[in-house]
Point group: C2
């Protein structure tokens, strides 16, 4: 069987990288020949998790078709979030927990999606269904992915299935998930030694909303005032990125992981900003607005933006 | 929990109707409130199977949004094969074995697809994963769906998983699958008492191929010469349907289920016919051509047509 690459989305987070590693292990057990790779460097949080469970970061690729004819996707399906030459390879498998958008294939494929908090929760179910034993390190990296995506089970995307998976995986991994989880999340909140350009690209995704190219970035912090001291520099970096990449709107969600509140910074045309304000029923003041309780891009940001841009 | 409708594609076959019934039973066991319906009348083969296992044909609906806010799809995902107001309801679940095309959602959903011969094979796996006991009549209708889609496991779409499912389901249903299967398939081959207009619409699907609207219909027979005596009337009906519905090409695949060969009739522009000939590397003679061994629209017709229309 020809080798296939498995990867998550661009600007990978712990789910994108952790679930790729877990899926590759599972598929290889089932007779496939796969390698988990990544579409970017691991962030600090992911590095902490990889290190904790004894993994090295997956190799970073820029294109896939120079290596393989077929790939498997985790934690994404939208082509603009995938490898740059996704149209030149065949997608044979997808495991994801996002909406399906602009994902078209010529042939039938394996597709497994569920509206749960993390792709690793689906992966945990797949291991159980296939009755493949989960090694301790794989359990640890899947646990880390779920903690990351659900902000320690506090995000509104969290389902009972995520909670079950966390308890089961923490048991196999041999860690106290609350204690470990908070350490891991905090490892991802050190923004002091990173430039604004880097911070707005660490966990950023593009969405085509009714013809508009909308960028939504998110950073996790434990000290919101510290982050907002750099507001002008953030806005400048977002403005420059928008001009360079052609974004119609750029939104940065700065989330305090300790109290699950966020502050949003927004740059874009007056028309885009009006749509943003409509989406969240909130007025921007000097490009900034509080979004109390908003922590999930997928569940609390993209749907209202989609509705506002389509109205 | 609000009621949801479950249905397969337009011009329903035994998979579309049988798997909808089986999925509704499974989901209701899991706590959902669902009803299996159909987007058209059951054909003769499906009626035979429904009758054999004690089911009445599901209620036929033309629209969904007048009844429910949310639906579950089986055996299709492409919007033009679905209910006419699919854009007005939320799709919460899909179980399918086709390519994914033009299927976009605003929110995450349950999506389960695999490149196997029949949707009921995936459904059988889902019952097993959820450890829900399959009643005898549900096993019978799922068995019928797999026999129908795989032409008694002889279609090139057939996988080992389909074969396993057939053996397991036949055992639960208490039938000899070969004997029953041939009787069921033959029940669908009586074309004598149907008009050409009806026959070209019984099992027909539309595909958008690079901007062209291509219709592919299939009928199963046991006596190919009998069917070809009506060739001129078939061509006339296909031509009229094309003008009425705006098809750029209409292809009718007449398949002899006993020897797994087909004869194709084709109407359309010279340009479309040239693409057809390129797709199958075969010359049409008086709008007709033999396609030896071709029995699967999904695996042996749509992919070569897609390639030819996109070249």
């Amino acid at each position: 069987m020809a080798k296939e690459l498995i990867f998550g989305h661009q600007n990978p987070d712990t789910d994108a990288i952790g679930t790729a590693i877990a899926y590759s292990y599972l598929q290889n057990k089932l007779g496939y020949d796969t390698e988990a790779v990544a579409l970017g460097e691991a962030n600090d949080e992911t590095k902490y998790a990889l290190n904790k469970f004894g993994f090295t970061a997956p190799r970073v690729i820029k294109t896939a078709s120079n290596e393989v004819d077929a790939v498997m996707l985790v934690d994404h399906n939208e082509p603009q979030q995938s490898v740059s030459d996704i149209d030149k390879v065949k997608v044979t498998h997808v495991v994801d927990h996002h909406r399906i958008m602009n994902f078209n294939t010529a042939d039938p494929l394996y597709y497994r999606a569920a509206p749960v908090g993390c792709t690793s929760t689906i992966m945990w179910q797949m291991y159980n269904e296939k009755e493949i034993e989960i090694p301790q390190d794989i359990a640890g990296i899947m646990l880390s992915a779920i903690i990351s995506d659900t902000l320690l089970l506090k995000s509104p995307t969290t389902t009972d299935q995520d909670k079950e998976a966390v308890v089961s995986l923490a048991n196999i991994a041999g860690v106290d998930y609350k204690e470990y989880g908070l350490k891991m999340l905090k490892a991802g909140t050190n923004i002091a030694d990173k430039s604004e350009e880097d911070l707005i690209d660490l966990d950023a995704k593009s969405f085509e909303l009714n013809g508009s190219n909308v960028r939504v970035a998110q950073i996790n912090v434990v000290d919101l005032p510290e982050a907002l001291e750099r507001k002008d520099a953030f806005l400048k970096a977002m403005d420059e990125a928008s001009k360079r990449e052609g974004y119609d709107m750029f939104m940065l969600l700065i989330t305090n992981i300790l109290d699950s509140d966020s502050e949003a910074l927004v740059v874009g045309s007056d028309e885009s900003k009006a749509k943003f304000e409509k989406a969240f029923n909130a007025k921007l003041s000097d490009s900034e607005v509080k979004l109390p309780g908003v922590v999930s891009r997928k569940k609390q940001v993209v749907p209202p933006l989609t509705n506002a841009f389509e109205a």
